[in-house]
């Protein structure tokens, strides 16, 4: 069973990456100059008198800062597996709870934006690769789109669609006057707030997918197998079909490699819309030096990206016949 071997190897690689990321997460604050906990507690978070001493003790105990390094490391892992990521002073809540509440908003925005932009971008890119006239007019546009910082495009959307035209709401995930429920009113309100953040990620991403696909198609259409097929009298539709199948594979790998950039885009975009996902948590945590929240969010982002990469790797094994046969026959 070759596929099992493939799966085991991939799992191993991602496990090592995960270990590395967590270790980095643990190590970084210890490498930084100064005492982060003290800095965090003495920053202007508005602590009540006496609260600081209690928290100081809580954190020193939690992180066992007086113990030897290896013990601190083990303790860090133990608390991690108990789902304990510390306590956010900024929000006065456990970090795990905060992340649990924020994560669905990220999924709701990012997942459709990534999937749809990938589909639409590849489609537009394939047309550009085949049609020179269309290519001439659309490529500069795609390059312009791909060059835009997500958050700037988000700002343009807010300004032109939200403020100037007043068509759509642009603050938060839903109207604060509405209580979340499964009613029609809430869902439509939620969707209205969802459109602009979604569009800002979706449209910008289309550009880079289209560029990648266009180049791949041009490259594949000149490959020997397409020439051969052409010489055999294959129809243009058939040629394109085969070229497309080969061109789409690197785009699947590209999806995995682009995830990091999209996360970066989402973090900044959420701050524009004040959309209550992890991005806003990260920004607020970074600005008020709420390190536990920051580290928890970092861990969450890394785990999500790793999981997504893992899934893409598995899908890739299924759609690329070369990988599939090398593992089922070898």
């Amino acid at each position: 069973m070759g596929f099992k071997k493939y799966l085991a190897r991939k799992t191993g690689v991602y496990l090592i990456t995960f270990l590395f990321a967590v270790t980095l997460n643990w190590l970084l604050p210890r490498l930084m100059p100064g005492n982060p906990i003290e800095a965090m507690l003495s920053s202007n978070l508005g602590l009540a008198p006496g609260e600081k001493e209690v928290l100081m003790e809580y954190y020193s105990q939690l992180y066992g800062l007086d113990k030897p390094l290896w013990e601190q490391f083990v303790n860090f892992w133990v608390s991690l597996f108990h789902g304990d990521l510390g306590y956010s002073i900024l929000y006065r809540a456990p970090v795990t709870d905060l992340i649990k509440h924020a994560l669905p908003y990220d999924v709701v925005i990012l997942l459709p934006a990534i999937v749809l932009s990938w589909v639409v971008g590849n489609w537009l890119g394939a047309i550009a690769g085949k049609n020179k006239k269309y290519d001439r007019y659309t490529m500069p546009l795609f390059y312009f789109l791909a060059s835009m910082p997500y958050f700037w495009f988000a700002m343009l959307l807010v300004y032109f669609v939200g403020v100037r035209a007043g068509w759509l709401p642009y603050q938060g995930a839903y109207d604060p006057a509405i209580i979340p429920s499964l009613s029609f009113g809430f869902i439509s309100n939620f969707l209205q707030h969802w459109i602009l953040p979604f569009l800002s990620l979706f449209i910008v991403q289309i550009g880079s997918w289209a560029i990648g696909m266009r180049n791949m198609i041009i490259y594949e259409l000149e490959a020997d197998y397409v020439r051969y097929l052409e010489a055999l009298g294959g129809s243009e539709k058939l040629l394109t079909k085969h070229a497309y199948r080969n061109a789409i594979l690197p785009q699947v790998t590209g999806l995995a490699l682009q995830l990091g950039l999209m996360v970066a885009g989402a973090i900044a975009t959420e701050t524009v819309f004040n959309y209550p996902g992890i991005g806003v948590l990260i920004m607020n945590a970074a600005l008020s030096q709420d390190y536990f929240l920051l580290q928890g969010a970092f861990l969450m982002v890394v785990i999500s990206v790793l999981a997504a990469n893992f899934i893409i790797d598995i899908i890739y094994a299924f759609i690329d016949p070369r990988v599939r046969t090398s593992y089922t026959e070898g």
């Binding site: 690689v13 991602y14 090592i16 990456t17 590395f20 990321a21 980095l24 997460n25 970084l28 604050p29 930084m32 100059p33 100064g34 982060p36 800095a39 020179k132 390059y143 312009f144 791909a146 060059s147 835009m148 910082p149 958050f151 700037w152 700002m155 343009l156 807010v158 300004y159 403020v163 180049n215 041009i218 490259y219 000149e222 490699l257 995830l259 990091g260 950039l261 996360v263 970066a264 885009g265 973090i267 900044a268 701050t271 524009v272 990260i282 920004m283 945590a285 970074a286 600005l287 030096q289 390190y291 920051l294 580290q295 969010a297 970092f298 982002v301 890394v302 990206v305 790793l306 990469n309």
Partner: protein, 312 residues
């Protein structure tokens, strides 16, 4: 491989339309960043400074004035000065044109520095990994693959948040330190394909040292490649630094393009419709990255004629 005269390659590049466009656009912004301050009376923070003896005293302008507005401001000593706000002012009465020019300087400087750091790191690691092979390669590539999967931006945020005083150079350093894996991977695969070519084997037979082979034989064949990787690093660095600044983790001592955008958001410039505050900085970032894209495209066509499409 017949070596083409280097100058000839440069000439071909400059004849390429895409390269011309990209290079021209980039140079426009570089020159703008250099001479832009000549057209304004304001200092980098958008304030008007007046020298009184040895100290310089700042005076503010009118608040959120639209572009090209002229006004008369009173300095500290009671003098009246007529000034022109080419791009208007922000909510604190600071000139935005001055902030934009100096912000562009900072952003270009950060990106260039980060690109140099990232490219040098990536090239050396890629070279060593590809040339040495064996367990050195295995370990280095594992680090590269790990670094590629972990989103650089969260790492940057994490590090930047721990630093209380951030200079542009520090930001460039941390961006460079997270950007190199892309270069390393590309350089490694190029090195792998070059190291078994005849001229390299010949050099090895002649008893040349590893370093001499790398710099004397392999490097010259990869200059174009490394240059292109460097340009990609540059555009990546501009984007990362703008994102960091936008989140509020930018340089604390300087104004930068992302920083202007962050202040615009923080002061609700969008809701009040002060478009001159947030459109120009973002547009400049976008155009610089577009220019870099086109430079790379042009260079790709010069070095890889297969991509050239009839007559272009």
């Amino acid at each position: 491989m017949p070596r083409r005269n280097r100058m000839e390659t440069v000439k071909i590049a400059f004849r390429n339309r895409k390269f011309q466009f990209g290079f021209g656009l980039l140079m426009f912004f570089v020159i703008f960043a250099l001479i832009g301050p000549l057209f304004t009376n304001f200092a980098w923070d958008g304030l008007y400074y007046e020298k009184v003896g040895k100290v310089e005293l700042a005076s503010y302008s009118g608040r959120h004035l639209p572009p090209m507005s002229r006004e008369e401001i009173w300095t500290y000593t009671g003098k009246k000065v007529e000034v022109l706000h080419i791009l208007g002012t922000d909510i604190q009465g600071k000139d935005l044109y001055a902030q934009l020019v100096y912000g562009l300087r900072t952003s270009l400087w950060i990106a260039a520095l980060a690109a140099i750091i990232g490219t040098i790191l990536g090239v050396s690691i890629g070279f060593v990994s590809g040339y040495k092979g064996g367990w050195v390669d295995e370990i280095l590539m594992m680090v590269v693959n790990i670094m590629l999967v972990i989103p650089a931006i969260v790492l940057l945020i994490l590090v930047a948040a721990y630093l209380s005083a951030r200079s542009p150079e520090i930001q460039a350093l941390i961006i460079g330190l997270t950007g190199w894996p892309w270069v390393a991977r590309a350089v490694r695969s190029q090195t792998l394909s070059l190291k078994n070519r005849e001229f390299v084997s010949l050099a090895r037979l002649a008893g040349q040292s590893d370093l001499r082979i790398i710099f004397g034989e392999i490097m010259p064949n990869m200059v174009s490649y490394v240059f292109m990787a460097g340009i990609l690093q540059f555009s990546g660095a501009i984007l990362s630094s703008a994102t960091l600044d936008f989140i509020g983790l930018g340089p604390t001592t300087m104004v930068s393009l992302g920083n202007i955008l962050q202040k615009a958001i923080a002061h609700n410039a969008l809701q009040f419709g002060w478009w001159w505050w947030f459109i120009p900085p973002g547009l400049i970032i976008t155009l610089i990255i577009t220019a870099l894209f086109f430079i790379n495209l042009g260079m790709e066509e010069v070095f890889n004629p297969r991509l050239r499409r009839g007559g272009e």
